[in-house]
């Protein structure tokens, strides 16, 4: 038996940088360093653990859609231990929304061949958290999403989803789409050996024509949503800061009472 896992990852602007919009109201990626979305590291980690716990022959492919620099995200995942990588890159992809991104990913996943797709719970830039569900819908396979625990055995994926009202135990047959949360387990650091090995691992590059996608289906033109304007939030006016010299609690209570919270 073999198990083919595709991990979808995203190259995102560093959240600790000064993020802003470009003139076309897409995310400006030039001024901020990019990196592998932290939440996708958990997906890579769970794929590696599924592989380590499996008697099957497991192959892990990491997949990303993005500009040239996005290869950095793939290299990170390869250095953690993934086997190979696919980079979908095309000038016409710029400005693609979540619906379009799910189209590109789904076509690439189908082309790559898969038994299991593992994604992070959300990207750390858009933070919509909808792509795994969209992938399941497009691929026509079960979604087993937002898992804090995941395991795969005998063609079945099981997991625990911790919701607001309840924790649910979920189960589905492969093929399936899984997404994992940051509670699923700390992601490993790439070892020196891993980093060296990653340099030799194959990275395939595909463009839209490889995936039979027309340019107008994606990009800013193909987007299903229009951003009309983006405004920087006005800086908060400086608040009152007091030093506690025994009366800090009382002073704060006075403020809260003045604001009618008490």
């Amino acid at each position: 038996m073999s198990l083919r896992i595709v991990v979808t990852v995203k190259y995102v602007p560093d959240a600790t940088g000064d993020r802003h919009f470009a003139d076309d109201l897409t995310v400006d990626r030039d001024d901020v360093d990019g990196l592998l979305s932290e939440l996708d590291e958990y997906a890579v980690e769970q794929a590696l653990q599924i592989s380590e716990n499996s008697d099957d022959d497991v192959e892990i492919t990491v997949l990303t859609v993005g500009p040239e620099d996005a290869k950095d995200a793939l290299r990170k995942a390869l250095s953690m231990g993934a086997d190979k990588a696919i980079h979908v890159e095309d000038d016409d992809i710029h400005g693609t929304d979540a619906i379009g991104t799910s189209l590109i990913l789904a076509k690439a996943i189908e082309k790559a061949g898969y038994d299991l797709v593992v994604s992070g719970m959300a990207s750390t830039d858009g933070t919509m958290g909808v792509v795994p569900a969209l992938l399941a819908e497009r691929l026509g396979v079960p979604q087993v999403t937002l898992l804090s625990e995941v395991s795969v055995e005998d063609g079945t994926v099981k997991g625990r989803r911790d919701g607001d009202a309840a924790s649910e135990n979920l189960e589905a047959s492969l093929p399936a789409v899984v997404s994992v949360t940051d509670q699923s387990g700390e992601a490993r650091y790439p070892s020196f050996k891993g980093i060296m090995a990653a340099k030799k691992k194959p990275v395939q590059s595909w463009d839209l024509s490889d995936l039979d996608i027309e340019a107008e289906e994606v990009g800013l033109e193909g987007s299903y949503t229009t951003v009309e304007n983006a405004a920087e939030r006005p800086a908060r006016t400086a608040g009152t800061i007091v030093k506690d010299e025994g009366e800090g609690g009382k002073q704060l209570a006075e403020f809260l009472a003045g604001q009618k919270f008490i």
Binding site: L25, N229, A231, R233, V242, L252
Partner: protein, 320 residues
């Protein structure tokens, strides 16, 4: 007037507050028609009618509880086909966003998630979103298909607006995918008696400075004195001091209460992403240089182990 579908988030017939907020927003763009699914769906009608639902489409089936997400998508799709609405509004919970996304894809429509406000526009509803850790505000609309929009809790005040709320049975045929992901077990979360974090008007959060699970009692006592929900920073959650369900921040919950009190939280960007849209922000921290103080309306530089109990006492005294 155009109808607007509102997906009802309820627990055995008890409608949760974000749904009532959606009804207020829905009235800005049309006539709200509510869709209530699963056990107790019919019992939601009175509350929904009181808040403006002209119609309540209901469907009870065990599939909604026994399988993940897809049965609800099937039902909403059936409702869209029955009503041809001007928009579909769904609460921005994790599940709500997944339902909305799959629905939008099926309808060939765009989707906007985590709207914090909604208004009628010439070319359809315009949604306000707060992005990049709430450092930017965007206004967007959906340019293709029936707009599907998820709205964050606390985005609108709940307003009573009595309407007919006529209950109609929705006819749903489940898709082949509906039974794909089985729910094999469910452990309900134990109620703390405190308000739900994302819905609460006041949130009191603790971070690294709380320095141990045993000290969270101080944070809880302050929260209880104000009738507030308890939040925790990622540092506190990762240390195992408080459950992940209470985590405020980029990878936890995003909250937007009237009042947010941060205790022993330095204010890393990931935390700010989850609370920066709070109306009034208060912080207590030993470190006068902590970035959280850049956000506050009122800050106390001091030891939370002194300030928090004193504050709790003072609130109790004032409340008598």
């Amino acid at each position: 007037m155009a109808e607007v579908l509102v997906y009802v988030d309820h627990v055995d017939g008890a409608v949760r507050k974000p749904t009532l907020e959606l009804l207020t927003l829905a009235r800005r763009i049309g006539e709200p028609v509510a869709v209530a699914l699963g056990n107790g769906a019919g019992d939601t009608a009175a509350a929904l009618a009181e808040h403006g639902a002209v119609k309540v489409l209901t469907h009870e089936a065990s599939e909604y509880a026994d399988y993940l997400v897809v049965p609800k998508v099937d039902a909403l799709q059936a409702a869209v086909e029955a009503v041809s609405p001007a928009a579909v509004l769904v609460p921005s919970s994790a599940e709500g966003k997944e339902i909305a996304a799959r629905l939008a894809l099926r309808l060939g429509s765009g989707i906007i998630t985590d709207a914090v406000d909604l208004e009628a526009g010439d070319e359809g509803p315009v949604a306000t979103q707060s992005v990049f850790a709430a450092s930017f505000t965007t206004k967007s609309r959906i340019s293709k298909g029936t707009p599907v929009i998820t709205v964050k809790p606390n985005s609108a005040a709940v307003e009573a607006a009595p309407a007919a709320g006529a209950v109609e049975a929705l006819s749903v045929s489940f898709s082949a995918q509906a039974t794909g992901t089985k729910v094999t077990g469910r452990t309900p979360r134990e109620s703390t008696g405190r308000p739900e974090l994302t819905e609460a008007a006041i949130v009191v959060s603790g971070g690294r400075g709380v320095n141990g699970a045993e000290n969270f009692g101080l944070i809880e006592a302050l929260a209880d004195s104000l009738g507030a929900a308890v939040g925790a920073s990622r540092a506190a959650v990762d240390a195992g001091w408080y459950p992940h369900t209470n985590q405020v921040g980029q990878t936890g919950k995003s909250v937007s209460p009237q009042l947010y009190i941060a205790s022993g939280i330095s204010g890393a960007i990931q935390h700010r992403a989850g609370m920066q849209t709070s109306k009034t922000i208060v912080a207590i921290n030993k470190d006068a240089e902590a970035p959280i103080f850049d956000l506050v309306d009122y800050g106390v530089v001091g030891d939370l182990f002194d300030v928090v109990p004193a504050l709790t006492e003072e609130i109790k005294t004032r409340k008598g």
